[in-house]
Symmetry: C2
Subunit: 195 residues, 2 copies
């Protein structure tokens, strides 16, 4: 069987990111040796360092992948909804649901800022989760739902609170209660933003 170079490349590349994803999510970036990643992926360290400049670069690819998938799911809720307000509430619900996934919590929320540095991490987020949220808030202001205000910084703070809510709920003794509290707290913010 004769495979093209592209096929070879993309299949080992995705084997590496898939393996990395699972391992990094389960045990955290620094607890996973590259050796284990390549063994899990069924290749060798040579393949890893052919496709990625270093371990961090692999991690960056994993983070981008996770973030993109996550954002796609959440933003689908917004576009599927009849109007913006209900869409945003549905997205909030989806956000908190999806954040129970350790892939999100460990990779995107815990390790990414420290491993990639806050600036790189922020750049990735800006193209995914943060981008969608900023858009939604901008639209909400345009439609008169929210009071006119600069949404750039607001979006960052809201996203940060959302991330924290996810972590709090995951770690809580009573997740249902924690979730209700979080929704109330976030709701009060939303109320303060209304036009």
């Amino acid at each position: 069987m004769r495979r093209s170079q592209q096929d070879r490349s993309s299949s080992t590349r995705s084997a590496l990111t898939t393996a990395g994803r699972a391992l990094f999510a389960a045990r955290g970036y620094h607890a996973v040796p590259t050796d284990e990643v390549v063994r899990t992926a069924g290749v060798t360290r040579g393949a890893l360092y052919h496709h990625f400049t270093d371990k961090k670069d692999l991690f960056r690819a994993v983070v981008t992948e996770v973030e993109a998938e996550f954002t796609a799911k959440v933003s689908a809720e917004v576009t599927a909804a009849p109007d913006l307000a209900t869409g945003m509430f549905a997205a909030l619900k989806a956000f908190l649901d999806l954040c129970s996934d350790p892939e999100i919590r460990q990779i995107a929320l815990t390790d990414a800022p420290a491993v990639l540095g806050w600036n790189d991490w922020r750049a990735i987020e800006a193209e995914h989760g943060l981008g969608v949220l900023t858009e939604a808030l901008t639209r909400a202001v345009e439609e008169g739902l929210l009071a006119p205000q600069p949404v750039g910084v607001l979006a960052r703070l809201v996203l940060s609170a959302l991330n924290e809510a996810a972590l709090v709920i995951a770690a809580a003794e009573d997740p249902a209660q924690a979730r209700a509290d979080a929704e109330q707290a976030l709701g009060s913010w939303f109320a303060g933003l209304l036009a």
Copy 2:
């Protein structure tokens, strides 16, 4: 010159945490070898592993120190103010001022959750920054300033937004503008919480 064991211990201990503080703040936990910490502190690795179980343990001590000092400064604003409302605003201002310090940003906000793990980090925070904030919010509810609500989760989300605000301001092209935006965003939340 004959020093007591306690003096020897505490002075090398603080030499180590002081050196660690500066180096971790400047370059991040994983970029600083223990060898450099002990050289800066003027001791050897033997001293380090006598006083701390491992590198992480030293880092934990540094985090606790930083967090305690930081919280003391912020909470001083609350107690110094004539009433709770103005105290909380003064504390907010102090918080954002102090967060320009890279010791806070790199050590407490970026590295700590990833290095110590989110749970350990949370436990430390709960005894310092988060503890004070929770207290303040509880009092605000008791005094009728804020609407009755569970403050535990709320405090976490607010603190997270505050942390993010600090990072955003530090990284912004126009920090003054970013700060104004952040204060507006946080103010709108506060408004939504009022009784």
